[in-house]
Symmetry: C2
Subunit: 221 residues, 2 copies
């Protein structure tokens, strides 16, 4: 947690921050990023809470793990809270991303402003489809899958995003584990085995779909 | 909430269930789905909590909104809790999905077992790239984007998944709004405007990436 000096009470050392808190910090960060673009200068825990559909108490509690931000009755300065959250989340340093698979969908990632603006730089792409390697018109270099081990350097390629069908995910995680990849985000709805020292997360669309069906029924009965 | 008769205390009518609770119910559902496949017959709030990294109290609280499940000291029957959650989430009825964009990435969705098994059926695909329309080898019919209005019927196509780059998302939501689409899940990191009667959710990879960078630093310093 270098770069974070807002820890007067030493909470960081003694308390493990929950995944839910980290997730909400990441959501606040995105919201502050949008506010900054809309030239909004100040916000409040009430406003942040309303946007995210949670309680203002939870917003203040989440932020309190990392020190004192904002002033009672005055709220938060958007830009400086955003910068503090960037430090906490580690987004104030640069991160190299590699995308494995995804076909043309990776343009959604490659064109993402929020990634570019926040030091999450897509550096390499690996593709199973030889046609997509050959006809690559992306800004980043596209390699065939068999060059995974030769081209990835975990010292500068920090996070791999795997956008392959479920049955192909485990084999790629195994290969990345062998070359010491530190972090993997995979998009398939399945469980995987990974080395202990690898941070593995899952962006699973089935969870959002379960929320959507609930909300559609809630609205339409 | 038809199909849910586990509401002895009438909580559903008087209390609005938070998005976080619905999200966790959807996560429990996925976990129970995996347990069932591994032939696991029983589980506990402790076990569910451990898998998801939350407290057992929260698991029990989330489930308590919808009635009484399981028995103290005995835990939950995996299959019947999964079925109850399916009913609550609306997954016990059939849902038609359409995918807009995504290129070859949509194979991740089309090949997803959990969608197929839970009545989330991908029925139609709309593609901006004419080559991908022409060379479609998917199990579902692929249409060009200009047939969106002609081919989508909101009475049977319930949820649209938009996997297009950020600048293209709003125009598609506008078009879907005009034909009365009830639910949209979009994958770009941006905010959008949508009609009041449309359920709109965002699967934003930047939030997960912010969590990952935190966790990588937590592990490696």
């Amino acid at each position: 947690m270098s770069g974070n000096n807002h820890n007067e009470k030493g909470k960081l050392k003694t308390e493990k921050i929950s995944d839910s808190t980290i997730r909400r910090l990441s959501i606040y960060f995105r919201t502050l990023n949008r506010m900054e673009k809309q030239d909004i200068k100040r916000t409040t825990s009430m406003e942040l809470a309303e946007i995210e559909g949670i309680s203002p108490v939870m917003v203040r509690k989440d932020l309190s793990f990392f020190g004192t931000f904002g002033c009672r009755g005055v709220g938060y300065d958007v830009q400086s809270l955003k910068m503090e959250l960037a430090k906490i989340l580690g987004l104030s340093r640069g991160w190299g991303l590699v995308i494995i698979g995804g076909g043309r969908f990776r343009n959604v990632l490659i064109n993402s402003q929020i990634l570019k603006e926040n030091n999450l730089v897509i550096k390499k792409v690996f593709e199973t489809d030889p046609e997509l390697v050959k006809n690559s018109d992306d800004q980043v270099k596209v390699f065939p899958m068999d060059q995974l081990e030769a081209q990835i350097n975990p010292a500068e390629d920090h996070i791999a995003i795997i956008a392959l069908p479920p049955p192909e995910v485990q084999a790629v995680i195994d290969r990345l584990g062998k070359i010491g990849m530190k972090a993997v985000l995979y998009m398939a709805s399945r469980s995987v085995k990974a080395p202990d020292n690898m941070v593995v997360m899952n962006q699973d669309i089935s969870i959002k779909l379960g929320m959507m069906t609930y909300k559609v029924l809630e609205k339409t009965g």
